[in-house]
């Protein structure tokens, strides 16, 4: 326990240190890309829990993001300033009280998204494959249309004036993005190697056999949706506070597809693969920004390339970059003498 606490403290220290150092070392543009990578890692890994590890097929991830983003922005926008100043005695010291408000808001956003994940997960008890896909897509769109019609958060005009991450805190956004991404990866890896994770893998491999072996498939599938949605919601919250603006148009199913492409590229079922793919898929469009000047109608070539990549990937290497394996199963200096089955990495 003490070791874990120390590890946690070390991580937070690391995040704070990087948060202070990086803006001085990198130009703002690079720093921004880094933040996007962090958010995308969280999104891709959390979707991978549902699509890759549990073998369900969700394309409504943007909906969970939207819920988390709007709920947390609502809290900080309307209650944030009041909460940050009205610290009860015995509470956190005023200097970092804002951090707790922000964290609380993000947590609330994540929990709201998890609740939605529970609702969306329920049909997965009866549906599989493409039907489930279309239902999650439908849910994502329903969420978006509902937000579009809530005037308190701006409706179709968008939610402007979301407090920036710095407003509540001495640290910049990178601190939170880094922590969330690392936390998502750690929780996912630990989850996969726990008995719950083994149940998820069993459901993916053969649902009937899993049920026959005593796995509670209902609980497992809904659980995957809830955990995935929770992290997606927190990532959405961070994105909102980072951009200081939200609009329902940011959370269409094109966004869900983008996240899906990351998961597929990295390999469905590979957590480190998702991390890798999220980084690639964030950097690639930035690197290709110049191509825009040469395309007809000056269209951003990003989506055309992504979709081509997806088609070619499916035709030639449907397992993605890493398949079911993790990075530590692939790199030569850590390769095991007795190669265990898929997804056994992470315990080392």
């Amino acid at each position: 326990m003490a070791r874990r606490l120390a590890l946690g403290a070390l991580l937070i220290g690391c995040a704070a240190l990087l948060d202070a150092l990086l803006p001085r070392l990198l130009d703002p543009y690079m720093f921004q890309i880094l933040i996007y990578i962090g958010i995308n890692i969280t999104l891709a890994v959390s979707l991978n829990l549902v699509n890759g590890i549990t073998g369900q097929f969700s394309i409504g991830h943007a909906g969970f993001m939207a819920i988390g983003a709007y709920v947390s922005a609502y809290i900080t926008y309307f209650f944030g300033p009041g909460l940050a100043t009205a610290t009860p005695s015995g509470g956190p010291p005023p200097g970092i009280a804002g951090e707790f408000v922000l964290f609380g808001a993000l947590l609330a956003g994540g929990l709201a998204a998890a609740g939605a994940g529970w609702v969306v997960g329920l049909p997965s008890l009866r549906l599989k494959g493409d039907y489930l896909a279309i239902v999650t897509l439908g849910f994502g769109e329903i969420i978006r249309v509902l937000i579009l019609n809530i005037e308190t958060v701006g409706g179709a005009r968008g939610f402007a004036g979301v407090p920036p991450l710095q407003k509540f805190s001495p640290v910049r956004g990178f601190f939170w993005v880094f922590l969330l991404a690392v936390a998502t990866v750690i929780v996912s890896v630990r989850l996969v190697n726990s008995s719950y994770g083994r149940a998820m893998l069993a459901v993916r491999e053969d649902e009937v056999a899993a049920e026959a072996s005593g796995v509670n498939t209902t609980q497992t599938k809904v659980g995957a949706f809830v955990v995935g949605a929770f992290f997606a919601g927190m990532a959405g919250g961070l994105l909102g506070h980072y951009l200081q603006y939200l609009n329902p148009a940011m959370f269409t199913f094109v966004k869900s597809f983008e996240i899906l492409i990351m998961v597929v590229l990295g390999g469905m079922g590979s957590i480190t693969g998702s991390v890798l793919a999220a980084a690639i898929m964030t950097i690639l469009p930035e690197a290709l920004r110049g191509v825009k000047d040469y395309t007809p109608h000056n269209i951003d070539p990003r989506m055309v390339l992504f979709s081509l990549l997806l088609i070619v990937l499916m035709l030639t290497r449907p397992t993605g970059l890493l398949g079911h394996r993790e990075i530590w199963d692939v790199v030569p200096w850590r390769r095991r003498r007795h190669p265990a089955g898929p997804n056994s990495g992470g315990a080392a």
Binding site: F57, I59, P123, R126, L127, G129, D130, Y131, A133, I134, V135, L137, G138, F139, E141, I142, V145, L146, L148, N149, V208, V254, F257, L260, V264, T295, P296, H297, I299, P301, M303, V304, F306, S307, L308, L310, I311, M314, L315, P318
Partner: protein, 309 residues
């Protein structure tokens, strides 16, 4: 009463376009068990081919009914070819792959056509020309246009033709056999590959027709126009019972009517509760989808098939 009939007619006009689209989804799902996400983009390409063909034939300045038919035939041919290529290049190599793989590929093709379409056609909306003279008509107390009647008439004619193909021809019989049991059909000497290709062509031809009709009624066309009609047509196919041809027609009509009446009863008040139902019409359609899938996955006309292990 007149307003009721008015909305009924509008709903049927939109619904018949959804029905034409839904047929493509349902036929492909029948033979391949694949949600062909790219179908809505074939619909979009159909509308754009119609747009360019109409301008090439000079119909924008010199409209005629014969010209309208020519435009439609041209875009049906182009889309039939596109549907064929789509199946040949993207789906056939994955015939034996897990279904999720083909599903992801279908999404990829769909996105590719959407954004490729933006590059080819330009991202700004274009206006579908009036390919034959438009006039207002009075039917009893109901105001309509000859366009609306044209849409309904063409849709009904095409659906009757499809019904004939599916239930009265050798190809139709083979298609139903493949849809019933793929392996058994191939053992009986049915050329399954050719049948599947033909099914895609048939679906794409109907989608092209739907695209042109849609362009007539809602002249604003852009490369992303297919997304929502496509999703709704898919909901229609599921509502009617996927894989079921009459079901798709019924489902399309129902979805068109639901949408129309959602807008018609806007603002809906119940006690102190005021809801702008019309703004939620997309959400309502998806809610229908979720409800159908959860409570009656076989759809209205589909039959229940217990899953075998």
């Amino acid at each position: 009463m007149n307003t009721f009939l008015q909305h009924l007619l509008n709903g049927i006009a939109t619904g018949s376009i959804y029905a034409l689209l839904a047929l493509g989804y349902t036929m492909v799902y029948g033979v391949l068990k694949l949600i062909n996400f790219a179908h809505s983009e074939i619909f979009m390409v159909g509308a754009f081919t119609g747009y360019y063909a109409a301008h090439a034939l000079g119909l924008a300045s010199n409209p005629s009914l014969l010209g309208a038919a020519t435009v439609m035939l041209i875009s049906m041919t182009v889309c039939g070819l596109l549907g064929f290529l789509n199946e040949r290049i993207a789906y056939r190599p994955l015939r034996t792959a897990p279904r999720i793989t083909s599903l992801i590929t279908a999404m990829g093709v769909s996105l590719f056509l959407q954004y490729g379409g933006q590059m080819v056609f330009g991202p700004d909306p274009k206006f579908f020309p009036q390919v034959f003279p438009k006039s207002n008509l009075q039917l009893g107390g109901v105001v309509t246009t000859n366009y609306q009647l044209f849409v309904v008439a063409v849709a009904i004619a095409l659906m009757a033709g499809l019904q004939w193909i599916v239930y009265r021809t050798r190809f139709g019989k083979a298609m139903r056999a493949v849809s019933h049991n793929f392996e058994m059909a191939s053992l009986m000497g049915i050329p399954t590959d050719r049948i599947i290709s033909m099914t895609f062509v048939l679906g794409s031809v109907l989608a092209a027709a739907a695209g042109n009709l849609y362009g007539l009624v809602y002249p604003r066309i852009d490369p992303l126009m297919g997304v929502f009609p496509g999703l709704k047509a898919f909901v229609a196919a599921v509502l009617g019972g996927i894989g079921n041809v009459p079901g798709a027609m019924l489902g399309g009509m129902l979805i068109g009517l639901v949408e129309e009446y959602a807008v018609a009863i806007d603002p809906w008040a119940w006690g102190a509760l005021h809801v702008h139902v019309g703004r939620f019409k997309d959400a309502i359609v998806f809610a229908i989808l979720v409800a159908i899938l959860v409570f009656r996955p076989s759809g209205l006309l589909g039959r229940y098939e217990p899953e075998k292990v």
